[in-house]
């Protein structure tokens, strides 16, 4: 009995090792959105092109991607060509121009191409705070009822789209 007690430290260590092993597969910097399965927060912000006020109903009706971007963001430029490709494939993308200058944004889109069916201007970043944005680029999947279903932080490239975003998109598009 005494001898058995001495095995306790070993057992505790083995449990710890197992936890650490699984921990290696996790990314401690990845932050899932706190708003998943909650409706998109309401907003009333100007549109980049027309200047007229838009609200969250603009994202209802079908499943869309909401892409948070800015001309100041280097990675946004990296993902831009792929966004155009997605738009060409018929994926609806709404842009959120985050903490940016609208004129610079318009020029940027003119020069690099415009994948967005609509761009909402969040010049002071207040709406970004409501969404829980902490760094561009971020891409949300918003379903037909305006409910956030997924968020990806970082560049959206073909691999990311295929492995993480597309499954969510297809899943919610398939629902009536």
């Amino acid at each position: 009995m005494d001898r058995l007690k001495l095995f306790v430290p070993l057992i505790i260590f083995l449990v710890l090792a197992v936890v650490l092993y699984f921990g290696l597969g996790r990314d401690p910097r990845e932050l899932p959105s706190a708003l998943v399965d909650r409706p998109l927060p309401s907003f009333s912000l100007p549109s980049l092109r027309e200047g007229a006020a838009v609200d969250e109903s603009a994202l209802r009706g079908k499943v869309r991607l909401l892409n948070v971007w800015g001309t100041w963001c280097v990675a946004c430029r990296d993902e831009h060509p792929f966004l155009i490709e997605l738009a060409d494939r018929g994926i609806p993308i709404v842009g959120l121009n985050y903490k940016d200058d609208p004129r610079a944004a318009r020029a940027w889109l003119q020069r690099l191409g415009d994948p967005y069916e609509l761009v909402v201007v969040d010049a002071d970043g207040r709406y970004g705070l409501e969404l829980g944005v902490y760094g561009a680029p971020e891409t949300y999947v918003v379903d037909a009822d305006g409910v956030i279903r997924y968020r990806h932080v970082g560049v959206v490239d073909p691999a990311v789209w295929r492995e993480h975003i597309e499954p969510v998109y297809r899943n919610w598009t398939a629902r009536p």
């Binding site: 001495l6 430290p9 650490l20 092993y21 921990g23 290696l24 996790r26 401690p28 910097r29």
Partner: protein, 657 residues
């Protein structure tokens, strides 16, 4: 060519560590004196090879050899030479090489100094350390080669060393810390050797103590230095953040402290043998765990090395083998027959045991808090953060409890203490503690619980330690006469315990009474804070070896009399990184700490002013603790006994055969 020589030397060292790990161990098992004797030359050879490898890497840095990827990533032509040399350990690969260098140093030291100890034991100890070195060699050579080249086109210049690391702290902190971290492998190796040998007596405790104390003292210094470095470098006046990397160094220290105390019981009374062995294993295991946490990417930290999970798998595997193997050995071979004891609850044994219990609880709490985010993530409970509010909630009361035990501990005798011996000092200690807690905080401002408890705890320790000192130095009825007769072991304890008291007092005072302000100041403006006046004189532009700097000038006066002029800077380095250098006036009773912010236009600048009373006591306390640890082993009994042991050793070795 030099990097290739370095690489080759490292490979040779790895092979040698394999031989070192196997041959003496087999020699001890099959009683081959020649094989056991090989331990010393092998250990020395290993040290030489690793030193050569390290020197080659240093030479690559000194010579601006940017064809070596590691040099290119961490150095720059314009970097001052002293930072080029410390950049050797500024990132993952090089710091691992430093780890191995320090390990080979400790191994050689044990092999040489252990001449006076039983051959069989030392052969095993050195072999175990050789096996650990082998693990690290494999890690280096297979996943983290510091000598990897960037051919065929090496960059013309290197990315600069991170400006935060271009500091005196980088020159001293990692080496000191590693001396401690790695040094804990010595008691670990002793424990393994003892378990392998199946020794039932506790003679090994005396041999283990000096090594443990020195390693632990280095670790104490390393941690204190790290805290001090973060304080003046990071610009927000904090000195401990419960960051995972900080905790990674603190956890082995806590168990190391428990081990230092447990060894006292085992040495003096032959008790707690199994427990001491377990502590020795766990202390080094936490060192290795720390290495894992810092380099695998499982936890986020400002201090972590930029590394990846594939390396993490290797370290975890290594951890599994070393820790799992040693705990298995412990479970199979640790003594189960309790030694005849017989101590009351009013005894030194009982209270050292309580000390150990508390330290283990503190260790577990900090370990839990550090790993909890990982645990929660793995169990899909979400992303949770555990930070200072959690750690402080538990660490503070537990430390105060420890302080309460500390004070009484020295007064107690082995086996039992008569109550009348204790009554007087305890009453005195209580009176001093209450008075200090009640009155001293008022020196700095309004009375506050935090400061009161810290000061009460510190003076409790101080008063009781001094009372005991007075008592023990009373010779022939005359107090203090016998001071010279007191042994080094005792002085070490006094110093270390007073160091603890000082650190507790410092932490309590500074956390309660520090004041700070963020202000907009124009040249000529003054601001009063914490009893001082800060006069802002303006900002100049100056140039350093690899940076441009805006340097502010702030004159500090107290009641009209000049105290000091501070020069906080905002630097812009070649690589584009910006850094602030705080202007600090270090004082025994308080620090004045000034940070220069941005220019706000029209000659106005953003300035942050701090007055931090008592903050230096924390690090001075740490230094005192480390000093105590080292003084304690200068005790005669370690020298005399070992000489006697040398006479006994040959016959003992024969008897063991």
């Amino acid at each position: 060519m030099i990097p290739e020589y370095g690489h080759f030397a490292l490979i040779l060292a790895g092979c040698l560590s394999l031989v070192l790990g196997v041959v003496p161990l087999l020699g001890a098992t099959f009683n081959r004196p020649l094989w056991m004797a090989a331990a010393r030359p092998l250990a020395l050879g290993h040290l030489v090879l690793v030193a050569v490898s390290f020197a080659c890497l240093a030479a690559a840095f000194a010579g601006d050899d940017f064809s070596v990827a590691y040099v290119a990533a961490n150095s720059n032509r314009l970097l001052p030479w002293y930072y080029k040399l410390s950049a050797v350990w500024g990132a993952h690969e090089g710091s691992l090489l430093l780890w191995v260098l320090v390990l080979s140093g400790w191994t050689a030291a044990v092999a040489v100094a252990g001449r006076k100890l039983p051959v069989q034991l030392i052969a095993r100890v050195v072999a175990v350390m050789g096996l650990i070195a082998l693990g690290f060699h494999l890690f280096l050579l297979l996943t983290s080669n510091p000598f990897a080249r960037l051919l065929p086109i090496p960059p013309a210049d290197g990315a600069d060393l991170n400006p935060l690391l271009q500091d005196f702290g980088l020159i001293v902190h990692p080496p000191l810390l590693y001396m401690g971290y790695v040094g804990l492998s010595v008691p670990f190796a002793f424990a393994i050797a003892v378990l392998l040998a199946g020794r039932m007596d506790a003679a090994w405790a005396r041999w283990m103590r000096p090594w443990t104390n020195v390693a632990w003292a280095f670790l104490t210094l390393g941690i204190a230095l790290g805290s001090w470095w973060a304080y003046y470098e990071l610009g927000w006046g904090g000195w401990w953040f419960w960051d995972p990397v900080e905790n990674a160094s603190f956890l082995p220290w806590l168990l190391g402290t428990a081990l230092v105390h447990s060894l006292a019981v085992t040495e003096k009374r032959g008790l707690l043998r199994g427990w001491t062995l377990l502590l020795a294993i766990f202390a080094f295991s936490l060192s290795l765990l720390g290495t894992f946490l810092v380099r695998s990417g499982v936890l986020t930290s400002v201090h972590a090395f930029a590394t990846d999970p594939t390396r993490g798998v290797f370290v975890l595997g290594f951890l599994g083998v070393v820790v799992g193997g040693s705990l298995l050995l412990y479970a199979l071979r640790a003594p189960t027959l309790p030694a005849t004891a017989g101590f009351g609850w009013r005894s030194r044994e009982a209270w050292l045991l309580a000390n150990n219990a508390l330290l283990v609880v503190i260790t577990c709490v900090i370990l839990l808090g550090t790993l909890y985010p990982l645990l929660a993530d793995v169990l899909a409970w979400g992303k949770i953060s555990v930070g200072p509010p959690y750690f402080n909630s538990f660490f503070v009361p537990l430390t105060l409890a420890l302080a309460a035990l500390l004070g009484v501990g020295a007064l107690l005798q082995w086996k039992d203490t008569a109550p009348r011996r204790l009554r007087g000092p305890l009453v005195l200690g209580l009176a001093v503690a209450l008075a200090s807690g009640g009155l001293l905080p008022l020196l700095w401002g309004e009375w506050h619980w935090g400061a009161a408890l810290a000061l009460a705890g510190a003076s409790w320790i101080g008063a009781l330690t001094l009372v005991d000192l007075w008592r023990k130095s009373t010779a022939g009825g005359r107090p203090w006469r016998g001071v010279r007769l007191l042994r080094a072991g005792y002085w070490g304890m006094v110093a270390a315990h007073l160091g603890v008291a000082l650190a507790i007092a410092g932490a309590g005072v500074t956390e309660t009474y520090s004041v700070e302000r963020d202000l907009r100041m124009t040249p000529g403006e003054s601001q009063a804070l914490g009893g001082f006046e800060f006069h802002f004189a303006g900002v100049d532009e100056v140039f350093g070896p690899n940076y441009r700097s805006q340097r502010g000038e702030i004159h500090v006066t107290r009641e009209g009399r000049a105290v000091v002029t501070l020069a906080p800077e905002r630097r812009r380095y070649l690589g584009g990184q910006a850094m602030t250098e705080a202007g600090i006036d270090a004082g025994l009773t308080r620090d004045l700490y000034v940070v220069l912010g941005e220019s706000l236009g029209a000659g106005a600048w953003a300035v942050r002013l701090h007055v931090k009373p008592g903050v230096r006591w924390i690090w001075l306390g740490g230094v005192l603790i480390a000093l105590g640890g080292v003084v304690a082993i200068c005790d005669r009994r370690y020298r005399v006994r070992i000489r006697t042991q040398a006479q006994v050793a040959p016959s003992a070795a024969v008897a063991e055969a």
